[in-house]
């Protein structure tokens, strides 16, 4: 177990270096000159003179590795440079936008867990009943419906037609409901399916037969089946968390949610390179750490692997 953790943690070093390098190189692969973009977005006509000045200001004339190391050491201190669009520090902008995104993703996660565990277990226990079949039809719709379409349909129904909830923004405490439900739809479909199929698979195992022979209560047996079915779902859920946070991009834009997804899309329109770079770096690091937690968690949860590792 210890060896495995140490090895897994050491593996993080090359991955993190690789990611930071990639996020840095990406901007340098851009077909347009960052200095020119930085001038253009402020609606100043670029001339040879002010481009040279901007290059100097952005440090673009330094050797590649020097620029990378400067950028990295600044980034580690939370300084991602200034936005090309409004000249505000990117780090601050992101720090402001991160809590709403995490809040939205957190509420979605809660909805996903509660609904998919509930529905998944119900479907598996009442396998092939009307409930199961109806649920599976709903789930099927959930996997094929585009999230943004579901989003605007829900918005129309609950905000425009029924006026129960606000259309957009983070004005009232209930405002999070519509975006969170929209965000969770696709995931719920996946997890209901996963939990249901895992449980049905487990129900056909020998230990269940043995439990029945022993005369255990159906409820007790189901509890064991449920526990044994959770592992793959937990792994998948861990992997979904960064995807959930990244997936807020579309939802935040529909519901005008003031998070980093919206920040990122605005940055793309403005060709605001430092902002895009910071977004990519932060999301990738988040993704890598979530993977780490999932890997360690799945070893810890499974006694067989705990011994092995």
């Amino acid at each position: 177990m210890k060896n495995y953790i140490v090895k897994r943690l050491l593996w993080m070093i090359p991955i993190l270096i690789g990611i930071s390098f990639f996020a840095f190189v990406l901007i340098n692969l851009s077909p347009s000159d960052p200095a020119e973009v930085a001038i253009r977005v402020n609606e100043i006509t670029p001339t040879a003179e002010n481009i040279a000045q901007m290059r100097e200001q952005l440090g673009l004339d330094d050797p590649f590795m020097t620029r990378y190391l400067t950028w990295l050491s600044n980034a580690l201190q939370g300084d991602f440079g200034n936005s090309y669009a409004n000249n505000k520090p990117v780090g601050e902008e992101i720090a402001k936008a991160l809590p709403p995104t995490l809040y939205l993703a957190g509420v979605s996660l809660l909805i996903i867990v509660v609904v998919s565990v509930g529905a998944g277990v119900l479907c598996a226990v009442k396998e092939d009943s009307i409930t199961d079949k109806t649920m599976r039809a709903i789930v099927f719709v959930g996997t094929a419906i585009p999230g943004f379409w579901a989003g605007i349909l829900l918005m129309w129904l609950f905000a425009v037609k029924l006026k129960w909830l606000p259309t957009s923004g983070m004005t009232t405490p209930v405002a999070v409901l519509l975006p969170a439900v929209t965000l969770s739809l696709g995931y719920i479909a996946t997890y209901v399916r996963l939990i249901r199929n895992n449980m049905i698979h487990n129900k056909r195992e020998n230990y269940v037969l043995y439990g029945r022979v022993r005369g255990l209560k159906e409820q007790t047996i189901m509890k064991h089946v449920f526990k044994n079915s959770l592992q793959t779902s937990l792994t998948a859920l861990g992997m979904s968390i960064p995807k959930l946070i990244a997936g807020t991009v579309v939802i935040e834009n529909i519901f005008a949610w003031p998070g980093i997804g919206r920040l990122c899309v605005t940055a793309i329109f403005n060709r605001d390179f430092p902002m895009i770079q910071a977004y990519v770096l932060i999301m990738a690091v988040l993704f890598v750490f979530c993977n780490l937690l999932v890997d360690l968690g799945s070893v810890w949860i499974d006694p067989r692997r705990r011994k092995e590792a």
């Binding site: 990639f22 419906i145 199929n197 329109f269 990519v280």
Partner: protein, 298 residues
């Protein structure tokens, strides 16, 4: 393979879905011939008309014919997605077969590169690349290919490795067949079914992805018709004309559902063993709608 076609043909739903997709793709290709109106021709006097004989799906906020826009939009959405899928699957197959066939150093190098690519969530990678290259449909295709190829390589490599262990490939090797011959005549023929399943299911995901990006305004630029972008325009007039959201959303939903379905059916026709336990029972529609293949009965 013969058994596969027989099972596939006997699956009514699979045939229905295939026909539907064939029809949709034909409509998309023939859009310029079939569309009753120019998809970008504005006629502001006739805006927001309901469905009628002259305008089957009504008209939008600029008085453009929605039916024509759906046809032309399908051209962009479906054809671009299929193209993206073909490019990724070709890259994935070439590198995946190389890694799985030769193993050793080739495998290590390819797989380490894949590991790095896969440590970025693909959504973020796509946004990053579109951010660098700028908005537009070409850039979105490029970004999707760059973000997805590594995943395909990994999947196809694992399929190939599975086949490399089979006796007939070993026999071909012992019999002295050339690498090219084994790959073409044995490996690819064997793996093609599973690759097709991957490709079909992923086309659905790519359609969702590309239309989402267009919805955000990062993909197709107006006035070109595209389903995701049509929904974006519909969103702006949602309070007054909610009906505008129906046609493009339904179009995406049906095509995505059909591709998901087709993927499941191909998989089932390939591996009938998986649900042998159900052979005697005729599926209900809902059964076939979802999850048949996942029900494991040993």
């Amino acid at each position: 393979m013969a058994g596969f076609w027989k099972r596939f043909r006997n699956d009514n739903l699979a045939m229905g879905v295939s026909l539907f997709l064939l029809m949709v793709i034909t409509l998309a290709i023939l859009a310029p011939l079939l569309a009753p109106y120019d998809p970008t021709a504005q006629n502001i006097i006739d805006k927001f008309q309901g469905p009628s004989l002259t305008h089957w799906f009504g008209t939008d906020q600029l008085g453009r014919d929605v039916f024509s826009r759906i046809l032309f939009g399908g051209r962009v959405t479906i054809l671009v997605s299929v193209l993206t899928m073909v490019v990724t699957i070709v890259i994935g197959t070439v590198l995946g077969v190389m890694a799985g066939y030769f193993r050793g150093t080739v495998d290590d190098v390819i797989m380490r590169i894949c590991d790095i690519m896969l440590s970025f969530p693909s959504e973020v990678l796509i946004l990053a690349i579109v951010g660098i290259l700028g908005t537009g449909i070409t850039n979105i295709v490029l970004a999707t290919v760059i973000a997805k190829w590594a995943w395909y390589v990994r999947m196809i490599r694992s399929i190939v490795i599975q086949f490399m262990d089979s006796n007939y490939i070993r026999f071909a090797k012992v019999a002295g067949c050339s690498t090219g011959h084994i790959v073409r005549k044995h490996l690819l023929v064997g793996a093609i079914g599973e690759i097709a399943v991957l490709a079909t299911l992923d086309t659905a995901a790519i359609i969702l992805n590309i239309s989402a990006l267009s919805f955000l305004g990062l993909g197709v630029q107006p006035p070109t018709a595209e389903w995701g972008m049509m929904l974006n325009e519909a969103k702006n007039v949602m309070t007054t004309n909610p009906g505008q959201m129906l046609a493009p959303g339904m179009a995406i939903f049906l095509v995505v559902a059909a591709f998901n379905f087709l993927g499941d059916s191909i998989q089932e026709a390939l591996n009938p063993k998986i649900n042998r336990g159900f052979k005697t029972k005729r599926y209900s529609l809902l059964d076939s709608l979802f999850g048949r293949k996942k029900v494991v009965t040993e």
